[in-house]
């Protein structure tokens, strides 16, 4: 049995490494993914373009504007003289945030009423708008606090300028203390690369043999379906593990993502995940008769798997039905494992539920593939 399987494995390796296109496919797309996700996907918002229309022109209004200019979040680029100009800048998309300080801003405050300030956010990108308005809110809240302190001080109260709010929040971001998107993205990319490579290689290698007729030639030999399947999957499991090593090394050395956990746990999680992707690859190969069909079928699964993984869009924000759907998505578990191993240094104690879930789903998927495969080739 092993002799036959070994011959298939050797043949697959010769073919993969002799094929220029395949060698390219194994190295370049994973790097492109790593670089784009590492550099481009960035939820950190900085230097948001701001325009100010200051009708008030008072000490108070200038102090408010100073608050905006003095943070990294905002870059006050325009000081305009009319409402029309302000709205024009928003329309053109030159700015994301517009501040309109009303003429009676300071007067009202001195009278002990609330000063009026209009904040306009360009919500073309709703995610970014949300973050920008939250930042603006924080700046304004600080300003409020300052004004409150001053008022109290002016009234000569015993607090002597110390108002002290009931709750003072100072958030600490654990595991990624500077909230660098890249640090969460790179482990996610590892998971995506493994999915892409193992799924496509497995599906295509079987379907290609169908196309050229060698599968039929193999099926007239005494080989058993299980031997053929093992021979067809083991090489791609090994190649996928090499991909993980390549992307992990680049993530650590180039992007300086901290690796706090153990390689063994990462290996274990990857193996559990590979049951799923290789199983799916085999399953796809049983329903496709050309490589093109296999590619299409593969893509059909790739996009939903990534969208429902929680890497880019938080699962908590999804409709309830889709939240349940993510439990069936092995990539969701695998990303928790890779991020956990990298950023938290999580071990089996923490990650066993995910690894178990992937193993169970994987055995199911592989079982389905084996059943289909046997029927298909018999």
């Amino acid at each position: 049995m092993w002799r036959r399987i070994r011959h298939i494995i050797i043949k697959e390796f010769i073919q993969v490494f002799r094929d220029k296109k395949l060698r390219f496919f194994l190295i370049v797309p994973p790097l492109v993914q790593l670089l784009t996700y590492g550099y481009v996907v960035n939820f950190d918002i900085k230097h948001v373009a701001v325009a100010v229309f200051d009708e008030s022109r008072t000490l108070e209004s200038r102090q408010l504007i100073d608050r905006f200019t003095s943070t990294d979040w905002f870059n006050v680029k325009y000081y305009v003289k009319s409402q029309k100009e302000l709205l024009h800048l928003v329309d053109r998309g030159d700015i994301t945030l517009a501040l309109w300080i009303q003429w009676d801003f300071a007067t009202r405050m001195r009278q002990g009423k609330s000063g009026r300030l209009q904040v306009i956010v360009d919500a073309t990108d709703s995610n970014a708008a949300l973050i920008v308005s939250r930042y603006a809110g924080t700046v304004i809240a600080d300003y409020n606090q300052l004004q409150l302190d001053r008022q109290l001080a002016r009234q000569g109260q015993e607090w002597a300028g110390q108002s002290g709010t009931p709750l003072d929040i100072e958030p600490r971001a654990w595991f990624n203390s500077n909230l660098i998107s890249r640090h969460s993205m790179v482990p996610g990319v590892i998971a995506m690369v493994v999915l892409l490579v193992s799924l496509m290689l497995t599906a295509l290698s079987v379907v290609r043999e169908k196309e050229i007729g060698t599968l039929e030639q193999i099926l007239v030999t005494p080989i058993r379906p299980i031997e053929l399947m093992l021979g067809k999957t083991i090489p791609f499991v090994i190649i996928s593990l090499l991909e993980v090593a390549m992307v992990t090394a680049l993530g650590i050395l180039w992007f300086e993502v901290p690796f706090r956990g153990s390689f063994l746990v990462l290996l274990l999680g990857t193996m559990a995940f590979l049951f799923n992707s290789v199983g799916l690859g085999l399953l796809i190969s049983t329903v496709s008769s050309t490589q093109q069909q296999a590619m299409m079928a593969g893509n059909l699964f790739l996009t939903p798997a990534i969208l429902l993984s929680g890497l880019i869009f938080p699962i908590a924000n999804m409709p309830v039905f889709f939240q349940y759907l993510t439990y069936l998505n092995p990539l969701m578990y695998f990303i928790i494992v890779t991020q956990g191993v990298f950023l938290k240094g999580a071990g089996l104690v923490l990650l066993w539920p995910q690894i178990t879930a992937m193993t169970v789903l994987g055995i199911g998927m592989l079982g389905l593939a084996v059943a289909r495969f046997k029927v298909h080739i018999a």
Binding site: R3, Q15, I212, Q217
Partner: protein
């Protein structure tokens, strides 16, 4: 391998939906025989072979290959048979030797035997000096021989060759048949499918298969003896024009292009000869001499098909002869 018969097939059928690809066929192949399956594309030749080598299960009927039942002992048959399809299923990106190593390995040959066999078959098919060449770089005739080499790497006693010479030039085809003869001489049984008439002549025995049914079987000369009509050969000046005219004659049962002349089947040669001369002369086509010839296998095939199918077969024969 206890039986004298290498292959026994009884009432074998395979249907795909309503389509009867193979319809109730029976035949026997003796050991050491070159047995031919002759018929046009889509006649059911490949479907039959696929049932015999375990790639396809029959809808009904039974069969034994090398003494094993094709339904129940499907897996045991595979060690004893070799299969070569018209697609020359090889890995183009592997060398000749790597292809043989792979197929030999999948057949489970142990390393020592594998090494020995690879050299043996490479010498047999005359490829030992190209063993390290990529298969992609081999001309079609050599690919065909390499495909044969991988089909016999495990020394099968029965060899199935499904349109194994299609697309190959005549010299390569002749060399290939020399190899097949040599293997039959060693006692191997060979079942070939073909639609080349001259290849059918090389077979010890033949079945004619048409629309899923066997319409005749026997040695090539027995099949030729089946022809009841007299065959007239003539070489007119204008082949196509003459063919159209002659087909319209009531005395002519069948007419077809044969080489650079025409073959005409008729039951009334005495009446037909003058009729042909008359109509060709009337249309200013040089007639030349009309000879009575022994029927060729092709004549037999056309005649037998026509007998089986009535006049329906007329349209077929035009495409069968090329």
């Amino acid at each position: 391998m206890t039986t004298e018969k290498a292959i026994v097939v009884k009432n074998l059928s395979r249907h795909f939906g309503d389509f009867k690809a193979v319809d109730d066929i029976s035949f026997e192949v003796h050991r050491g025989e070159i047995f031919g399956f002759l018929g046009p594309n889509g006649a059911g030749k490949s479907t039959t072979i696929r049932m015999l080598n375990g790639l396809l299960l029959p809808t009904s009927g039974e069969g034994r290959v090398g003494g094993f039942d094709i339904i129940r002992e499907n897996a045991r048959i595979k060690n004893h048979i070799g299969y070569m399809s018209q697609r020359f299923s090889l890995y183009e990106d592997l060398t000749a030797e790597e292809n043989l190593t792979f197929f030999g390995g999948v057949y489970g040959l142990d390393p020592a035997r594998l090494t020995g066999r690879i050299t043996e078959v490479l010498i047999l098919v005359g490829l030992e000096d190209r063993r390290h060449d990529l298969t992609r770089t081999l001309p079609l005739g050599l690919k065909q021989r390499l495909a044969l080499a991988s089909a016999i790497i495990h020394e099968p006693s029965i060899l199935f060759l499904d349109e194994a010479t299609s697309g190959v030039d005549p010299i390569s085809r002749r060399n290939f048949w020399d190899l097949i003869y040599a293997m039959a001489q060693e006692g191997r049984t060979i079942l070939v499918t073909t639609h080349y008439m001259e290849e059918a002549e090389f077979c010890d025995r033949l079945v004619l298969i048409y629309q899923g049914r066997i319409i005749a079987q026997g040695t090539p000369s027995e099949l030729k003896g089946e022809v009841k009509e007299t065959i007239l050969a003539l070489y007119p000046g204008n082949l196509d024009g003459a063919l159209d005219l002659i087909k319209k004659l009531p005395q002519v049962a069948e007419a077809a292009v044969f080489g650079d002349g025409l073959h005409i089947a008729t039951t009334r040669p005495e009446e037909t000869e003058p009729a042909i001369q008359e109509t060709l002369t009337a249309h200013h086509i040089a007639c030349g001499r009309i000879e009575r010839v022994r029927p060729s296998l092709e004549d037999a095939f056309i005649s037998l098909v026509q007998r089986a199918e009535g006049k329906e077969a007329v349209s077929y024969q035009q495409s069968a002869i090329s």
